[in-house]
């Protein structure tokens, strides 16, 4: 008997059809002697709609609420109607949906009156997406004659700190409660359906886990219940050596170490956020990324015992677009303690995240990469704060660049990796603008002109023979 936590993302529960498909898939595994617990996200797009609704409500315009409520109700009613054939179960689920949506309406009206949206109330509103999805999945599972029960993350026993919007689990308390509330169900072969993304403080106030939150619910359950594996069901086969839109013969990565997987978080939406991976890493539970529309594919296995192919120094390469490079120059920075810190502090205080940094030992300039949509704010802030002071003489930028990230645990200690990368790039006549490699040696990132980005990815993919043979 194998104990598996299955997490289904928003696209896997986007419609009634897909939820029905999910139920069939789960039933298949349940018949094959798997003990299963399920984590579900909100229906695709619902979380975004909820965010939008909170923003409108904060402005105090109550008139949109009625229509919004109808939309949410209809979307979920429709999904339930398609996913659940049994009329009695359907009625039951529709009543549940109605009650939850009524509650949502009240909360939004409350925000309208107060014209105030705190992180606390925002989390409360966002939790409705998952809370509405879980009963439908529960109904669909009952419809295919599975024994099941549904819980919000709070009811299941996931406890976090009170950092609303980006809460962290209190893992020992959570483990204790999940063992008490969820484990007995697994022993009785009842499939618990738990809402992803949402939890509660020790006082029972609803929190959300932030980015990668639903995946994290999956790994939290996996760690607490000592699962054999955690499966993240999505709509692609797994993580790839490169974006197949750029490199048509990119290959599926069958195995990765936890560290490599964490490095790949930047590679795109289908990768796992390091925070979400953490509970699995700590308790050494393998995570598998799998495709709902192609369950025959083994997907990507992320685990500790991954046996690395020594020859494969670079495993994957990605292009990170929508970025801009800023250079700060000034001979006065040379040898002055704290001058870099001043720059980074100014950016940090203005909530501008620095993605990559490079400086030379001459210390006369520092270059860094930020998201492109923050460029104007960053420039203006830096100019106001720094220029005119002796140390800094110039702030310049380039907004037509992109970052190329290469990843592979075997880079560590292997000589000549950088040389191969940059030779391959140079052969295509591409100029490298900026380079960074941390001493962990798990990755080398560098910056090229945006127009050269895709060509650079292909050059590296080819140099390290990452393609399908």
């Amino acid at each position: 008997m194998k104990k598996v936590i299955m997490k289904f993302g928003g696209t896997s529960v986007a419609t009634g059809e897909k939820i029905k498909n999910l139920a069939r898939l789960v039933a298949d595994y349940a018949r094959q002697d798997y003990t299963i617990a399920i984590v579900v996200s909100a229906l695709d797009g619902i979380t975004e709609q909820l965010i939008e609704a909170t923003e409108k409500a904060e402005k105090g315009k109550a008139d949109f609420i009625h229509l919004f409520k109808q939309q949410i109700l209809e979307r979920h009613f429709k999904a339930a109607k398609v996913a659940i054939e049994n009329k009695k179960i359907l009625k039951e689920i529709q009543d549940v949906i109605q009650a939850i949506v009524d509650e949502l309406e009240k909360v939004l009206i409350g925000i309208c009156y107060l014209k105030e949206l705190t992180p606390k109330s925002s989390d409360y509103v966002l939790s409705f997406g998952e809370r509405l999805a879980a009963p439908i999945v529960y109904g669909a599972l009952r419809d295919v004659r599975l024994k099941t029960q549904y819980f919000s993350g709070k009811e299941a026993g996931i406890v976090t700190d009170s950092n609303f919007g980006e809460a962290s689990p209190l893992m020992d308390v959570t483990t204790h409660q999940l063992k008490e509330r969820i484990e007995p169900l697994l022993e009785d072969r009842i499939i618990p359906v738990v809402t992803g993304f949402i939890a509660a403080t020790q006082e029972g106030v609803i929190t959300t886990l932030g980015r990668g939150g639903s995946d994290q619910t999956g790994t939290i359950l996996g760690a607490a219940l000592a699962a054999d594996e955690i499966w993240i069901w999505t709509d692609v086969d797994g993580l790839m050596t490169a974006d197949p839109r750029i490199v048509p013969n990119a290959k599926l990565l069958h195995e990765l170490s936890y560290q490599e997987a964490a490095e790949m978080a930047i590679f795109g939406a289908k990768a796992m956020h390091p925070k979400a991976l953490e509970p699995a890493v700590k308790s050494e539970i393998p995570v598998r990324i799998r495709n709902v529309t192609n369950p025959g594919s083994p997907g990507t296995l992320i685990w500790k015992n991954h046996v690395a192919d020594k020859a494969q120094v670079v495993k994957a390469v990605a292009l990170i677009g929508d970025v801009a490079m800023i250079n700060v120059t000034g001979s006065g920075m040379v040898g002055v303690p704290g001058s870099y810190a001043k720059i980074l502090e100014v950016l940090g205080k203005n909530s501008i995240n620095v993605m990559m940094i490079s400086t030379a030992v001459s210390e006369a300039n520092i270059s860094f990469i930020i998201r492109r949509n923050l460029l104007e704010r960053a420039l203006s802030t830096l100019e106001i704060a720094l220029l005119g002071k002796n140390a800094f003489t110039q702030v310049s930028y380039e907004d037509d660049v992109c970052v190329i990230a290469t990843m592979g645990a075997q880079m560590k200690g292997t000589k000549g990796v950088a040389s191969r990368i940059f030779t391959a790039v140079a052969k295509r006549g591409i100029n490298v603008r900026m380079i960074a490699q941390g001493s962990s040696e798990l990755n080398i990132s560098f910056v090229v002109k945006e127009e050269d980005g895709e060509e650079t990815v292909r050059a590296i993919h080819e140099e390290f023979e990452l393609y399908e043979n």
């Binding site: 700190d161 209190l170 893992m171 020992d172 308390v173 483990t175 204790h176 409660q177 020790q202 006082e203």
Partner: protein, 341 residues
């Protein structure tokens, strides 16, 4: 320091006795001025925000069976959680009876104490055996101390010995006779040739064993202590489910006499040495662990300091209450440091 005392049995009453009789020396030597602002028993509570008259409360309890009829501030029917939430205090002392099924009411009492920002001293093994890692995490999260010296060794400072006296050393294994009742029974069987039942009856007569002695003789009580030591001293995140335990209920007199012939003796030993377990174990007669009667003994083997054994009485109201006092002084010390820094 203001104290809420929940659970007013033998240990709780001994504590109030000690506090009322050593008030001056506490104040003089430790600058410790304990004020018990609430005492809760099964039937209600006695509450006085300025501090209860402990001699008076003790008298009421002895005469009427409950503190809830205390003339100034007696509240019949009020529950412990309400008292913990609403009465202002620095420390909650939790001495309700051990329940290893779900840890209640201790578990909820302690959690509520944390949530309302109170430091907790407990002698209740149930919540710790069931949820040790969770309780420690909650205490940290709420920035309060959780202390439980009295749960292992009674008044004998077993936990502090390992945690403080062996600081910096790495403890590789722990073996201990952790339950006085069973050790008394085994000693009686061995020395006087009594059967298990006879020895148990005698233990009951002397008040060493409870009417329902299963916590002791089935090895549950020492298993709880193994959980506490494994977590606190060795940093293992385990609960009672992870301890294999076997008691002495089925031990035959012959087993003991056989061992005696070989210069050995059988004791109920709890151990943390790779795995965690409690079971009747043969010891050499001259093993330092080999104590008789109601004594407890715990042997630590550490990386550098080698082997140390600490011996003392493992139970008793006053003994356990003295451990609570120690914990409270420790908390007072931490609090003072925090306030002055």
């Amino acid at each position: 320091m203001r104290i809420i005392l929940v659970g007013y049995g033998v240990v709780g009453q001994s504590l109030t006795y000690i506090l009322s009789h050593s008030r001056l020396s506490n104040l003089k030597e430790y600058g410790f001025n304990p004020r018990v602002v609430a005492i809760v028993d099964r039937k209600g509570a006695a509450i006085d925000s300025k501090g209860l008259n402990l001699r008076e409360v003790l008298r009421v309890k002895k005469e009427k069976g409950t503190v809830s009829v205390y003339p100034r501030g007696g509240k019949p029917g009020i529950g412990s959680l309400e008292v913990i939430e609403t009465v202002e205090a620095e420390v909650l002392v939790e001495t309700t009876p051990t329940n290893i099924e779900n840890g209640e009411p201790g578990l909820s009492n302690i959690k509520t104490g944390f949530k309302s920002g109170k430091h907790v001293v407990t002698t209740n093994k149930g919540p710790l055996a069931i949820a040790f890692p969770a309780l420690c995490e909650l205490a940290d999260y709420n920035k309060v101390n959780l202390r439980f010296s009295g749960t292992v060794g009674g008044g004998t400072p077993v936990l502090e010995f390992a945690k403080k006296c062996l600081l910096g050393d790495k403890i590789n294994s722990i073996h201990g006779i952790l339950n006085g009742t069973t050790n008394y029974i085994l000693s009686e069987m061995e020395d006087k040739g009594l059967s298990f039942q006879q020895a148990l009856d005698r233990a009951k007569q002397l008040g060493y064993a409870e009417t329902d002695p299963s916590m002791d003789i089935d090895g549950i009580d020492p298993a709880c202590k193994v959980v506490i030591m494994a977590n606190w001293i060795m940093g293992k995140k385990i609960t009672l489910k992870d301890v294999k335990f076997k008691g002495i209920r089925n031990i035959a007199l012959e087993t003991l006499s056989e061992a005696t012939k070989r210069g050995k003796t059988v004791k109920l030993v709890g151990s943390i040495d790779g795995d965690c377990k409690v079971e009747p174990t043969e010891l050499h007669r001259y093993d330092p662990l080999c104590v008789s009667g109601v004594l407890n003994a715990v042997k630590f083997v550490s990386e550098f300091a080698g082997e140390e054994t600490i011996i003392g009485r493992g139970a008793g109201g006053k003994e356990t209450a003295s451990a609570i006092l120690r914990d409270m002084l420790d908390i007072r010390h931490n609090l003072a440091n925090k306030l002055l820094s």
